[in-house]
């Protein structure tokens, strides 16, 4: 397949399929979870407005608890770097913004290419470091399953192909751009089906936890 036809495929049918899978998967997961039977808590709540705790936990758990802070902080920082860099690269780069505008009608100003490349570089480096950590830490290695590695790969490829396209590395720009968009398509398509769904679910799981514990009066 030539670069040009790969690009056309990635922007055309592949994207449509990926988007359909994304929507299907998201709806499936969310409906599936929300429609679960909730067990009733017969105890009297210590607090009535559990949702406040829920909201608080969504944010408070974004920082390690004091007890663990010393042990995990620097990996948390690396992880932060990755998430921030990733977000800047996705949301700050004009071509991506134009895609979002095309899908949702929303738009905002973009950042210079240099800033994007920097952010993406940081994200890529931290992602590599996180992989290294996962591979070298015996505990993490035991805990890791296919989903962890596959999701890492799915997240890493768009980053690296995007950087290659930006710096025009590789002998066919169209091919590299096509691969980049295709890897984005795959990311979209896979997102609801693996651990990457945490981009949505983290709010629900933390909120639920916060609400439950808040109601029970636990210090959170």
């Amino acid at each position: 397949m030539s670069g040009a036809s790969l690009l056309t495929f990635a922007r055309g049918p592949a994207f449509e399929v990926a988007l359909a899978m994304l929507i299907f998967g998201m709806v499936w997961r969310l409906v599936g979870i929300l429609a679960l039977r909730r067990s009733r808590d017969y105890s009297e709540g210590r607090k009535t407005a559990g949702w406040v705790s829920g909201l608080r936990v969504i944010f408070s758990r974004s920082w390690p608890q004091a007890e663990f802070r010393e042990r995990v902080l620097h990996w948390d920082i690396v992880s932060y770097l990755f998430h921030l860099g990733y977000a800047v690269a996705i949301l700050g780069y004009l071509p991506h913004i134009l895609l979002i505008r095309n899908l949702t009608g929303l738009r905002w100003p973009g950042l210079p290419g240099g800033a994007i490349a920097f952010a993406a570089g940081i994200a890529a480096a931290s992602l590599l470091a996180l992989l290294g950590h996962r591979l070298t830490s015996p505990v993490l290695r035991k805990l890791s399953n296919f989903d962890d590695y596959f999701s890492w790969f799915i997240a890493f490829v768009p980053l690296i192909t995007g950087l290659m396209a930006y710096y025009n590395i590789g002998d066919s720009y169209q091919m590299v751009l096509g691969l980049h968009i295709l890897s984005g398509d795959i990311l979209f398509a896979w997102l609801p089906f693996g651990k990457l769904m945490h981009v949505i679910l983290f709010a629900f799981s933390r909120g639920k936890t916060g609400a439950v514990y808040g109601r029970r009066g636990a210090a959170i």
Binding site: L19, I23, L36, R37
Partner: protein, 368 residues
């Protein structure tokens, strides 16, 4: 009048016409200049033109709009280009044939016969295959049979324009006439694609002059000469710094447009288009599409008509499907699957924990 032998050199032609060696040196200088050659190569050109038999060039047109030939004539003048084409190389062209002064059909046949196996065949336009070729006929013959015959005696084929190179407009979906590029029909000859809709005049002449003096140039994957198609428009665009700085014109007449900001957002295909527009420019170096405010259409690339619209930014999906319908269906399927999963989970729950054990607060959430 014109006694042609198969192996005349350019020098011979000029001498036969009563011109001196000075005229020959002028031709060499002009060719050198046209190809922007280094002094070492320039010396070689003089040698080649004085010793190598001049090639015969035959030019045929099929499903085209004549834009390529028009572009070619924009570089024509009574000077070097017409000299090269009319007097030195060109043996047949439907349109310019009058200049060669021989009966067209005869000229074509005799030129082909004389240089059989050695001539350069230039083709513009796509070739329709549907309906036995009835969608394009010349003097009652189908274009495809005409081309097959002409190509079988050619040393190389130069496909001028995107129609001949990649199918171009006739090939655009749904390709009603079954059009194909030259390369689909001619498979056993070297092909040089000089794409563009039309190609820049100086690129056409440059490629042909290069071939007639040096032979096959270095080609890219799509068989285009690297010297003209080696860089993308984007790489050499004077607006590139604005792209890098994230400064984009949002419409054709905003502040950014007036200040020459990047046209990416308006659909510019410069990043994925290989051509010499930014460096050679058009019409004697006057301007090129991006300089004149319009995004690059990507006209030198295959299938440029079918890439989702000229004003759709490169990063935006081409969206041939009905998005609302398909996405709605995906969402509906998601709802069904989600509810199904939830019901299944409830059923499982009910089965694990007998109904009479109701009120069990230790109930575990189902495995997700």
């Amino acid at each position: 009048m014109k006694e042609e032998t198969g192996d005349e050199t350019v020098l011979d032609v000029l001498e036969r016409r009563g011109l001196t060696r000075r005229a020959f040196l002028q031709v060499c200088a002009a060719v050198t200049s046209a190809l922007a050659l280094s002094p070492a190569e320039a010396a070689r050109i003089t040698q080649v033109l004085a010793s190598k038999p001049r090639p015969t060039v035959i030019y045929l047109s099929y499903q085209e709009c004549t834009g390529c030939l028009e572009s070619l004539t924009r570089s024509f003048s009574p000077g070097i280009a017409s000299l090269i084409f009319n007097d030195i190389s060109l043996a047949f062209n439907d349109t310019l044939q009058a200049a060669a002064g021989e009966a067209a059909e005869e000229a074509k046949d005799s030129a082909m016969k004389k240089a059989w196996g050695k001539y350069v065949l230039i083709v513009d336009g796509a070739v329709p295959l549907a309906e036995n070729g009835a969608y394009c006929t010349v003097a009652g013959r189908s274009a495809v049979s005409d081309l097959r015959h002409a190509a079988s005696g050619a040393a190389a084929v130069v496909a001028v324009g995107t129609c001949a190179s990649f199918g171009g407009l006739p090939y655009a979906a749904p390709n009603p006439t079954g059009a194909v590029p030259v390369s689909e029909i001619v498979r056993d000859r070297p092909i040089i694609n000089v794409s563009g809709c039309p190609p820049i005049a100086e690129v056409i002449t440059g490629v042909i002059i290069y071939y007639t003096t040096f032979g096959l140039p270095a080609l890219d994957r799509l068989h285009r000469p690297m010297s003209f198609y080696g860089n993308s428009i984007h790489d050499r665009c004077y607006r590139r710094p604005f792209y890098d700085r994230g400064m984009f014109a949002k419409t054709f007449d905003d502040e950014g447009a007036r200040q020459g900001w990047c046209l990416y957002e308006l659909g510019c295909k410069g990043p994925v288009t290989h051509n010499a527009c930014p460096t050679m420019k058009w019409n004697g170096g006057t301007s090129y599409p991006i300089e004149s405010g319009h995004p690059c259409l990507g006209c030198s690339e295959p299938d440029f008509w079918d890439k989702g619209g000229f004003y759709r930014p490169l990063s935006v999906p081409t969206g041939h499907w009905s998005r609302a319908g398909v996405m709605g269906a995906a969402a509906a399927a998601g709802v069904v699957a989600g509810l199904g999963a939830a019901v299944a989970a409830r059923v499982r729950q009910d089965r694990t924990h007998k109904p009479d054990a109701g009120g069990d607060t230790n109930q575990k959430t189902p495995k997700s």
